[in-house]
């Protein structure tokens, strides 16, 4: 029932794509298309929630499409339902946002057709129940998002970003293809049911793990496969960026979870070490990269990398516990990871919407040209701030809850017998803590430089508040951040069936606990109550304000900024994004990015201004991608000689081949 509903929604979205091609040039095209998208996604969302919360049994369905003798199989179980909900939540809000935002689009005909197709593809990925359908939807998702990335094709960087993206995406897809090739075996048993039934050997399973890490990881943005992400996500229109960062990466996580937790079967203990190490590195590298950025959307994209790392830390712990049969602990770790999936999708969409609003208001993505927007765009500033607090994992918002749960899972891991894990997990815990702290620092920078201070350019000064639809979308997500932060119990319980499927156990039920606090393991061990904390803060804050205004003074005068007695009228003297990051750059960047500051001081009498240039190198690119590109270019050049041979030389090639083959025949046994 639910399955048919969501499939019809996906079909409707697909049908919307050609429709959009036709109507794209009409004046009211954007609202119509996005409105319809929102409607379809909403229905699908409700269906998914019903499936998930109603703990309905899994439904499956086969259509006579795709590979003829296999057919196209769809299935919705708790896992699919959860991710479907995440996807469609993002889809609904993004479409809502786009109803307003999309009207600023310069070339709607390059966005409108692909947007619904993109949504449909993401929906289908999480519903697919056989390898072919999964990969088709997966790659179709890449393809449509690629089209959206290059929608502003006159900007060279966007086309370049699209190129890197499509190549990396195909790389990932081919890796997954190989993985499924292994799982399906020589006689092509492609449906997931058959794959589950067949248990691969340990070697094959390990190979599948690595291929899945490459395939899903490259889409999710695991370091070192992340390079395309900070290029492609910002290049797309902001509502699409939100979808790519907030939702598509989660679809990638789904792919990983589906393959590694569900299809392959029992994990080996060392798998978790790989995943944990990758996750930890990704988390810290991601946030450090972000700190070096002053392009708002690119900064957000790098934070996606960081959060993916956090998610994979949770998943890695879950794998470890699962491998040693500590199911309840595995359930905790898994829930932590999946809860972060949801949380990140919420606040990352929110933040990208905010950046989109800023972009439309000022036409600027570069924070160095922004500032002081809180005065002209108070509401956007407020919701963006909520997003910043949430993603910085600060109580009482939702980001904190999932990281808190992850920490709880880390604290359970000394019981793991393996020494490797005993040594690795504390380090990963430290990395997690570090990334959380750095994220806070980074978002102080992001919000402070963009919205606070004095406007650095005319554009920033002239900015105007964004439209109602965008605000509605953002307020909704902000509210969601708060709700998920103060009432995490509801969300944790919703995830219980997933844990059941994947690790065969579930966390203790939270809704029953007194005062609505959450108790992951036992009351004596740890508990957190976002609601009370929130209330306390609210009460004591208002109390203080009330008391002071009553008993002391509430008078207030405006004056020029004091600034130790020599205020400077020029906004250029404010701290910029890069100057704000300078201390941290000096601490971490010098080794991690070879960050150098080149001061160019003209001699006395020279009228040129002195310049300070900060050089930041991406070592991962230099170490891996540049050599590969160079190697391909080199071999292309070498082989290209063959285009310019003379006929006689070509003939000699033929002759040589003939002789070789004859020799083979001669020595053939």
């Amino acid at each position: 029932m639910m399955l048919t509903v969501v499939l019809w929604c996906a079909a409707a979205l697909l049908a919307l794509a050609p429709l959009a091609v036709i109507v794209a040039h009409m004046a009211k095209a954007a609202p119509i298309v996005y409105g319809l998208c929102a409607a379809a996604a909403l229905i699908s969302l409700l269906a998914a929630l019903k499936q998930l919360l109603g703990a309905a049994p899994a439904e499956s369905m086969a259509l006579p499409l795709g590979i003829p003798w296999v057919g196209t199989h769809f299935r919705i179980d708790a896992l699919s339902a959860f991710f479907l909900a995440v996807v469609d939540l993002g889809a609904v809000t993004a479409s809502l946002f786009a109803i307003g935002y999309g009207s600023h689009e310069a070339a709607p005909s390059r966005v409108l057709p692909f947007y619904p197709a993109f949504l449909a593809a993401m929906n289908l990925v999480v519903l697919a129940d056989d390898a072919f359908t999964f990969l088709v939807s997966w790659e179709f998702m890449s393809l449509t998002s690629w089209a959206l990335v290059v929608s502003h094709h006159r900007v060279r960087d966007n086309v370049y970003a699209g190129y890197v993206y499509i190549v990396m995406a195909s790389f990932g897809t081919l890796a997954l293809l190989l993985a499924f090739g292994l799982l399906a075996g020589p006689d092509g048993l492609y449906t997931f049911a058959q794959i589950r039934a067949a248990h691969p050997t340990a070697g094959f399973a390990a190979l599948v793990l690595f291929l899945a890490l490459i395939g899903a990881g490259s889409k999710a943005g695991l370091v070192p496969l992340h390079v395309w992400l900070p290029l492609a996500h910002p290049a797309a229109p902001s509502h699409v960026s939100a979808l790519m960062s907030g939702v598509m990466t989660k679809v990638a996580v789904y792919g990983f979870v589906r393959i590694v937790f569900d299809l392959v079967g029992g994990p080996a203990w060392w798998w978790s070490m790989v995943v944990l190490a990758l996750g930890g590195v990704t988390a810290v590298m991601g946030v450090l990269y972000a700190l070096m950025q002053h392009d708002l959307k690119r900064l957000l994209a790098y934070h996606t990398v960081e959060n993916i790392g956090i998610i994979f830390i949770g998943l890695g712990l879950a794998l470890a516990f699962k491998a040693y049969g500590m199911d309840s602990a595995a359930a905790l770790a898994l829930t932590a990871g999946l809860l972060h999936v949801f949380n990140h999708s919420v606040f990352k969409s929110l933040l990208f919407f905010g950046s989109g609003a800023v972009l439309t208001a000022t036409g600027e993505r570069d924070m160095e040209h922004l500032g002081g927007l809180i005065h002209n765009m108070p509401q956007t500033a407020f919701v963006f701030l909520v997003g910043c607090v949430a993603i910085s994992a600060l109580p009482p918002l939702n980001g904190f809850v999932s990281e808190w749960l992850t920490f709880q899972a880390v604290l359970l891991s000394p019981q793991l017998p393996s020494w490797g894990l005993k040594l690795l997990v504390p380090g990963v815990g430290a990395l997690l803590a570090l990334s959380a702290a750095l994220a806070a620092a980074c978002f102080v920078k992001a919000f402070g430089v963009t919205f606070l201070g004095r406007p650095r350019t005319l554009a920033a000064e002239r900015a105007a508040e964004t439209d109602q639809f965008s605000l509605a979308a953002m307020y909704f997500l902000a509210a969601l951040c708060l709700v998920a932060g103060v009432l995490p119990g509801l969300f944790i319980d919703a995830l219980a069936p997933l844990a059941d499927i994947l690790v065969g156990s579930r966390m203790p039920v939270q809704t029953g606990v007194q005062w609505l606090s959450i108790v992951p393991i036992a009351a004596g061990r740890s508990s957190y109550n976002g609601l009370l904390v929130f209330l306390f803060i609210g009460i004591s804050g208002t109390l203080a304000a009330f008391a002071i205004h009553r008993l002391a003074s509430d008078r207030l005068r405006r004056g020029p900024a004091w600034d130790c007695g020599y205020p400077d009228p020029s906004p250029a003297t404010q701290y910029t994004a890069s100057s704000f990051a300078q201390p941290i750059r000096r601490v971490f960047g010098t080794s991690m990015f070879r960050a150098r500051e080149l001061v160019e001081m003209p001699p006395p009498g020279d009228m040129r201004p002195a310049r300070l240039v900060v050089v930041v190198r991406d070592l991962i690119w230099d170490a891996i991608y540049a050599p590969v590109a160079a190697a391909i270019g080199f071999s292309a050049d070498r082989l290209n000689v063959l285009q310019f041979l003379t006929i006689r030389q070509f003939l000699s090639l033929v002759f040589a081949l003939l002789v070789i083959l004859l020799l083979v025949l001669a020595i053939w046994p």
Partner: protein, 479 residues
């Protein structure tokens, strides 16, 4: 021998060729050309229902009926495209009416030769037909009389002739192998007899024969390092001919090769042709993939991409087994449709921009949206992306190969990925960015282009059961 569909498939083009050689005026001739190909196509379709009995010279079975329908169909759509294309060529004066008459006649001769090669039940006739096709294309490649065109035609001619010789030697050897078993005379060259008795043939002779046939016909397939003629012939000839070359002639040669592969497959003592084909296939794939990066001429680039895909197909057939063979057939069909579609698009692009240099094109989606997106769709399809047909075949090839021999699959995937990179690198400069070059609207019918793409799309999503059953039979035939 009573007249039946298979004769029609041969006679219509032959008659049309004669007529077109005589008639003046390009409007009539172009129309007639279209009509003739359409009639041929219909006749070919009719063969699906009323299948003629195999004779000494002609036969129809699952394998070649697949090919014939495909060939005649692409031949038809290409003639439609060619009608609009040629009109433009006349206006710009690149072709004179005399040459045009010659062109149309040759087009029909080519159709005739290809159908003959497919229908032939006699390896001698098969050889003659393939060579006839080669020579006609040689003439058409040189039709523009530019230095490049003559150069390309000449190269094609010489390499082709050597190929012809080698193929003939192989054919003779097959006859030698067959004679002791079947007896002297024509019977020993009839395909049906050969396949029936191949088990008893002398394996050493068969091996030797296959080596020569592989090189001889492999030259036509364009397998590296025998490919040299292919890129230039594609680049310098008229675009409809490039489309036919890539879409059909390569397939024909491959088809002939498959026939002989089947012979060897039947004979247990003979060496397995698989490894040879797999090696050549992978070489062609990787080589062509790298060659894509340094291309400046749009048609030559897609010619190399044809080599790449021929590599994949040969690889698939070399691997053998029901899955791989099915994938190979599917890939072959999809590639013909897609590649000819791409060449349709490229032809219009070249006419709009007045050049084939990629550097002089840009922002096509801006200036000619329909054409630009058509080209993108084609490239996306040829790069093996869903939901288009080639993705399915590549999915089957890769996933079925990886378990059997991981190393090969890795190379295959590597080649595909490199090729994709090259294609998109060039595509970006053509369709995106600031518009460059002339931006006149192309006066052309996009029907063939999008018809092909629609078919490819459909195949990627849903394949009719009949077609599938058919392919599966053929896959079994190929063993």
């Amino acid at each position: 021998m009573s007249f039946d569909a298979s004769d029609a498939v041969l006679l219509i083009p032959a008659a049309a060729a004669a007529a077109l050689a005589l008639l003046p005026g390009y409007r009539i001739t172009a129309r007639l050309n279209v009509l003739a190909t359409l009639a041929t196509f219909v006749a070919a379709l009719s063969m699906l229902w009323a299948r003629p009995e195999p004779g000494l010279y002609l036969r129809v079975d699952d394998l070649n009926s697949t090919f014939i329908v495909l060939t005649t169909f692409v031949g038809f759509t290409t003639s439609v495209f060619s009608a609009s294309y040629i009109g433009h060529e006349l206006e710009t004066g690149r072709l004179t009416p005399t040459f045009l008459r010659f062109y149309h006649a040759m087009y029909q001769v080519l159709m005739f030769a290809m159908n003959l090669a497919l229908l032939a039940n006699n390896i001698g006739v098969m050889w003659v037909a393939v060579e006839l096709a080669t020579l006609t294309t040689v003439l058409m490649v040189g039709i523009y009389r530019t230095h490049e065109a003559l150069e390309a035609a000449w190269k094609y001619f010489i390499l082709g002739s050597v190929g012809i010789a080698l193929a003939l030697f192989g054919t003779i050897l097959v006859y030698m192998a067959a004679r002791p078993v079947i007896g002297e005379g024509l019977a020993a060259m009839v395909w049906t007899n050969l396949i029936a008795h191949a088990a008893a043939f002398d394996p050493a002779l068969l091996n030797l024969a296959f080596v020569f046939l592989l090189l001889g016909y492999g030259t036509k397939v364009g397998l590296a390092p025998l490919h040299a003629w292919l890129p230039d012939a594609h680049a310098e000839g008229p675009t409809p001919i490039s489309a036919v070359l890539s879409g059909l002639l390569l397939n024909i040669a491959l088809y002939v090769l498959l026939r002989f592969k089947m012979l060897l497959a039947v004979n247990p003592a003979a060496l397995a042709p698989g490894p040879l084909m797999v090696t050549l296939g992978l070489i062609s794939l990787v080589f062509a993939a790298f060659m894509l990066y340094r291309r400046r001429d749009i048609k030559r680039m897609f010619a190399y991409s044809s080599i790449e895909h021929m590599g994949i197909i040969v690889f698939a057939f070399g691997m053998g087994g029901p899955l791989a063979n099915f994938a190979g057939l599917l890939h072959m069909t999809m590639h013909s449709l897609t590649k000819s579609a791409i060449f349709f698009a490229v032809g219009h692009v070249a006419q709009v921009k007045g050049t084939q240099r990629i550097a002089d094109m840009g922002g096509l989606t801006e200036t000619n949206p329909l054409l630009g997106w058509g080209l993108i769709l084609g490239v996306v399809a040829i790069a093996g992306m869903p939901p288009l047909g080639i993705f399915m075949s590549e999915f089957l090839v890769v996933s079925s190969t990886f378990v059997r021999s991981p190393g090969l699959a890795i190379i295959l995937v590597f080649g595909i990925l490199v090729g994709l990179g090259g294609l998109f690198l060039r595509l970006n400069t053509i369709v995106f960015g600031e518009p460059r070059g002339p931006t006149a609207e192309a006066k052309a019918s996009y029907v063939p282009l999008f018809a092909h793409l629609a078919l490819v799309l459909m195949a990627g999503l849903y394949m009719p059961a009949a077609l599938v059953a058919w392919f599966e039979n053929v896959a079994k035939l190929l063993g």
